[in-house]
């Protein structure tokens, strides 16, 4: 039997098994842990689909960050032990079947929605041309004018610049909305567990230089190989979260202005690039001159890495931190 096929069959079986148990688990903690392993299997699947860029991003997000964010959510969903009464408000609409929502109408609604989405998706897949590479040829033809050597980076930061720009906007919006939900203006005073942990401090002290090295490496890699601002930003976020957990100086010790500045640095840098190219006489908006495009993309990538790192770590800290009093 073909080994590659065997590997794929195992992988698909694992993905289906995990997602089935993930949705069926009555224990939210189990679902969280299963989601982390789902990310691992998914990353293997992206490798098999020959999409190493996505596999890298999935490795960075799935391995660490998703787990942290979901643990924070889990903490928010679980009823407080010292809360008075029967915890009716938080128990009434839990995701588990122990105390289901009254009525079955929502199930019908969900099935209708999922069914129609699946049908639409199937139609879209059937509608795809059976052969042809889409825009791949076009990308490779214009690659030497883009300023970078890796086609994915060229698409993300040159050809489809506005997509990435708006995605950074989404990240900033996410950070702002979680600030609203937590009713806060900044991250200062948010602390992890109060008990000091010498072991963790030492561990993080050792890991931080390696993480900085990996951030720079991934950023540099994006120019000619799978890698780039998003993956580097996620590692930066992981580093900031670890520093915060271990009680070292992290983004919580930044002043409000500096923190806000790094939050929007990526978006602002791209806005600046857009304004400059739009007001330049002989250029169209968001069109970079060939000789400058490499430098512009690098500057934007550095700013985007900073922003992605700060936004993602802020999300985690906001969902996990508590005010000390």
């Amino acid at each position: 039997m073909n080994l590659t096929l065997l590997f794929d069959v195992f992988l698909i079986a694992a993905l289906l098994l995990v997602s089935w148990r993930l949705l069926g688990a009555s224990d939210l903690f189990q679902a969280t842990v299963l989601f982390i392993s789902f990310g691992l299997f998914l990353s293997l699947a992206w490798i098999r689909l020959q999409a190493p860029d996505i596999a890298l991003a999935e490795a960075a997000v799935g391995a660490g960050l998703a787990g942290v964010l979901l643990l924070g959510t889990f903490k928010g969903l679980e009823p407080e032990e010292d809360r008075e009464g029967e915890n009716l408000s938080s128990e009434a609409c839990r995701l588990d079947p122990i105390s289901p929502c009254p009525g079955r109408a929502h199930l019908l609604l969900a099935f209708t929605f999922v069914g129609s989405m699946t049908a639409l998706l199937l139609l879209a897949v059937l509608d795809l041309p059976a052969e042809g590479d889409g825009l791949t040829l076009l990308v490779f033809q214009s690659l030497d004018r883009s300023g970078v050597e890796h086609p994915v980076t060229a698409v993300l930061l040159n050809f489809r610049f506005y997509d990435t720009w708006l995605e950074l906007g989404v990240l900033v919006a996410a950070a702002l909305s979680i600030l609203c939900v937590r009713n806060r203006l900044d991250l200062r005073e948010l602390r992890p567990s109060k008990v000091p942990d010498v072991m963790l401090r030492r561990l993080v002290m050792g890991l931080t230089p390696i993480m900085i090295l990996v951030v720079v490496y991934l950023l540099w890699l994006g120019d000619h190989a799978p890698g780039g601002a998003f993956q580097a930003g996620v590692v930066l976020a992981a580093m900031l979260i670890l520093l915060w957990f271990s009680g070292h100086a992290s983004i919580t010790s930044l002043s409000r202005i500096l923190w806000l500045f790094s939050l929007i640095a990526g978006f602002a840098m791209m806005l600046l690039a857009a304004v400059i190219t739009a007001s330049w006489p002989e250029m169209r908006p968001l069109e970079f001159a060939e000789e400058w495009s490499g430098a512009i993309i690098l500057a934007i990538e550095v700013a985007a890495t900073l922003s992605i790192g700060v936004v993602l770590s802020s999300l985690a800290i906001l969902s996990l931190g508590a005010v000390e009093d």
Partner: protein, 90 residues
């Protein structure tokens, strides 16, 4: 060289299997943590070693060893944290 690499690979796979068996069969959480660290360190160690002896370039070998060292640090600290939490809980 290929025979050596193959043997090391099989050894690594054996330790991963032993780790999984321990994870399933051991009676309590602390011994399951014990099973995990053996599998982590030796299983990944042998597989990294197998790939190092056949690797063509020095940079690849260096990266493989770096990954193994990082995994050593990560798994031992994780098991320490989890075991401490288990013990404190009683």
């Amino acid at each position: 060289m290929e025979i050596l690499s193959g043997t090391l690979c099989l050894l690594g796979a054996f330790f991963f299997m032993a780790g999984t068996v321990g994870l399933i069969r051991f009676p309590d959480s602390l011994s399951r943590i014990h099973a995990l660290t053996k599998a982590d360190n030796l299983g990944l160690g042998f597989i990294v070693l197998a790939l190092v002896v056949t690797s063509q370039s020095l940079t690849v070998a260096f990266k493989l060893i770096l990954i193994w060292l990082l995994a050593l640090v990560a798994s031992s600290s994780i098991c320490f944290f989890l075991a401490r939490k288990l013990i404190h809980r009683g």
